[in-house]
């Protein structure tokens, strides 16, 4: 049995050495420890009253951290499919009441629309900021990128 453990140790040691060397030498190597993404572990890192544009990776982190997602697209697109758990921005008055009752002004909110070309998220972000909501993220890749990444959706 001792010999088996030795063999396992040899294989693992060899994999670590070669893996690290190969990763260091290759052009698309990655850091040994992934960099902490701002706003992931501590939402208070976002300055007050700043709308932060985020990419798919951070959107994913926020999704799995149960951050409230708001769909800024029209209600027909929303009913055809949206990110799991997202709420529609229409009608607007209901939306503001909903967010305020459910989580107050200081909890994070993520807004998305179709893709980078669509300005609805930024418009809604500005409106909500004026209402007093302080931690707003705009997911630039939007619904299209989320769909392409095969992340959870619902109708």
């Amino acid at each position: 049995m001792k010999t088996i453990y030795k063999q396992v140790a040899h294989i693992i040691a060899c994999s670590i050495v070669v893996g690290l060397a190969f990763n260091y030498l290759r052009s698309n190597g990655i850091p040994l420890i992934a960099k902490q993404i701002n706003g992931f572990s501590n939402y208070s890192q976002v300055d007050d009253f700043v709308i932060e544009i985020i990419d798919l990776e951070i959107a994913k982190k926020l999704f799995y951290d149960d951050v409230l997602f708001i769909d800024a697209r029209d209600d027909i697109s929303f009913s055809e499919g949206h990110i799991t758990g997202a709420i529609s921005s229409i009608p607007y008055n209901n939306l503001v009441d909903n967010i305020f009752i459910n989580q107050g002004y200081s909890e994070p909110i993520l807004i998305y629309c179709d893709d980078e070309e669509c300005g609805l998220s930024e418009d809604l972000g500005n409106q909500l900021q004026l209402e007093g909501f302080s931690k707003i993220y705009v997911f630039s890749g939007g619904w299209n990128q989320w769909l392409m990444a095969k992340l959870p959706t619902e109708k």
Binding site: I4, V8, I11, V18, F22, P31, Q36, S41
Partner: protein
Amino acid sequence: MVNGKITDRKMTNGLSIIVLIARILIGGILLYSSFEKFIDPSGFANAINNYHIIPFGLENSFAIILPWIELIVGICLILGVYIDGAALLVIIIMIIFIIAISYAIISGYNIECGCGLKPGEMVGIQKIIEDFTYLILAWMIFKRPKHRFELYPK
């Protein structure tokens, strides 16, 4: 008595050939899946991260080292070197994969498997069955009665 010995020898020979086939099969699968993971290390790190099992940041280390473990284990199984250690590592890896996929299914994560066999393959029961099959084959290799078709140790 003599006939019994001959039958035993035939059975052992047959088993040795089955073990050899299992070694080549698992070794080939590991080699193939490791190449897929080599091509896009950051994609593989993301796939690991989607499982939400490994503390944030460490998925990169796994993405750098795991494909090499798979590659070296695959070569060992095919060439017949360190078979015991390689088979034990396959068993450990498959148990980890089965736990990770089960956790993703229970948590309701509809994510890509990141298994490196088929692009876009999602986690699901069929993946658990597949890994369980490899686990049984690896166990069979680990518990083989005779060390035949092996280079080192003899």
